[in-house]
């Protein structure tokens, strides 16, 4: 059976046989880089289309339906429009930081891609502290947002950036704590080991109530971390016009936009990996027949399916809920999510030590 693992292995073998090891490694780096950028482009197109269709159906309308069959190429047309637009740099802004910021946001999003397993044994870098790496790197993006807000020399941008800073720093805590619950059950920080440990069933089913609570808190926290509604205070359009990217136009704006969607994909991929078993098919205990049927579905499909399910949930939030206020946002974190997740961690430790899970 052809799988990503098979293709990747063959390319690796062929490169190492043909070129010197150094050259082979360099070529592999280039291939990975190109694939990452390609993935970003495709993700941007697909997710924006998905968002527009989801919102349209929830709002009793049709959504884009003119460009291409069923409006499929609407995002392509939009990208083309953004590409040919003028990229303005406002007078009085810090030009260097202003132009750097979108790239910082983009690169931060790109870095988190490294330890994610897209299919069975198909991973850029199986780092042994994968989860730690993810939670450390994913918050670098806020630097880019702060940079953008500060350098724009616009009061709305500055307010949006400061809100975003406060928000991401505080929600990082409960996201980290809920990841920790999985780590306690698994006993390993590496992403591949965490997926392996869900061989007999996904953590969300096996882990009892603590895992369920951790999952819900994780979803809420990552929604906030990616600046999505109902936590989109950084760009609250009815208050701050567009928040930190008010002054951006053309392709620089598109990069921010793209980074937002890539970030959603990444956090949902991590959520799917930790709680829903990543590429691991749905296995139930020792029902051998059922498990082998599930194995027939390719692992990459399992991963994509779970990730897009979580993305849909986050989009569902956005098109249903009003936005929180800044103090309510921080209240929610410090008065509700953080105490609950700390208590939850304690409970999870107890269950893990006693071995009360399936």
């Amino acid at each position: 059976m052809i799988s990503f693992e098979y293709i990747a292995d063959n390319i690796d073998k062929w490169l190492n046989n043909t070129f010197s090891p150094w050259l082979a490694l360099t070529i592999e780096f280039v291939i990975v880089g190109v694939l990452c950028i390609g993935l970003f482009a495709v993700l941007g197109l697909v997710l924006i289309m998905m968002e527009r269709k989801v919102s349209a159906y929830m709002q009793v309308r049709l959504g884009p339906n003119r460009v291409g069959p069923k409006g499929m190429f609407q995002t392509v047309a939009d990208t083309l429009k953004l590409l040919v637009k003028e990229g303005l740099t406002p007078a009085g802004s810090d030009k260097f930081l202003f132009n750097l910021a979108p790239f910082v946001v983009m690169i931060a999003a790109m870095l988190v891609l490294a330890p994610i397993a897209f299919a069975k044994n198909f991973q850029i870098w199986d780092i042994n502290i994968g989860v730690l790496y993810v939670s450390a790197v994913s918050s670098i993006g806020v630097i880019g947002i702060l940079m953008a807000g500060w350098a724009s020399n616009n009061k709305y941008s500055l307010l949006g950036a400061m809100r975003s800073g406060a928000q991401i720093v505080s929600y990082e805590l409960s996201a980290g704590l809920s990841i920790l619950v999985v780590v306690i059950f698994t006993g390993d920080l590496s992403i591949s080991q965490i997926i392996e440990s869900q061989q007999t069933g996904w953590w969300i089913f096996r882990g009892h109530i603590p895992m369920l609570i951790a999952f819900i808190i994780f979803i809420i926290a990552v929604t906030a971390e990616t600046n999505r509604a109902p936590f989109d205070l950084a760009e609250a359009e009815s208050e701050l016009t567009a928040g930190f990217h008010t002054e951006y136009s053309g392709m620089k704006f598109a990069l921010f936009f793209l980074a937002e969607y890539v970030n959603i994909f990444i956090v949902c991929a991590i959520g799917a990996t930790l709680f829903l078993g990543g590429w691991m098919p749905l296995h139930i205990g020792n029902w051998e027949a059922f498990n082998s049927i599930m194995d027939w579905i390719p692992s990459s499909l399992w991963f994509v399916g779970k990730t897009f399910f979580l993305i849909f949930v986050i989009m569902w939030f956005r098109w249903t809920f009003p936005r929180l206020r800044i103090d309510q946002l921080l209240n929610l974190e410090w008065k509700y999510l953080l105490p609950i997740s700390m208590f939850n961690l304690l409970l999870a430790t107890l269950i893990a030590i006693q071995g009360w899970y399936f």
Partner: protein
Amino acid sequence: MFITQYIKEVFTGVKSLLIGMRRTGYYFTHHKEIITQQYPNEIPVMAERFKGEVIMLHDQNNEHACTGCTACELACPNATIKIVTKFDITPEGKKKKAIDKFVYHLELCTLCNLCIEACPTGAIKMGQNFEHSVFNRAELTKVLNKPGSKVRDDVE
């Protein structure tokens, strides 16, 4: 007790959010509720009374009922209508005042229907056309009586 209060608060809060999500989820799965009309493909039929623009009625002999009495011009609050008159020579050799041009400035018109109310002969009425956009503003100034048209004989 504080703890029960706290748990209750969290529970009711989450429940209210789920109720809202059920509503949007319902619309997401029920595509029959979609009410979008795809405009240039489906041209909406405007109501009979819809006030789109002022038009002048002409019959098959290229005759209209406008005598040029300027009642509409006086009734208009925005000076939308300008009637240019000329003098016809009747067969008996008398001079008779008649309409030369019925100039209508669509760009000034607020479609208030006062001119139609004022018209004693029912020469003008409201048309149903609602697509008025043009590239040049001058195209919005229209002459409503067709070239060569004249007043119907039975209209006084």
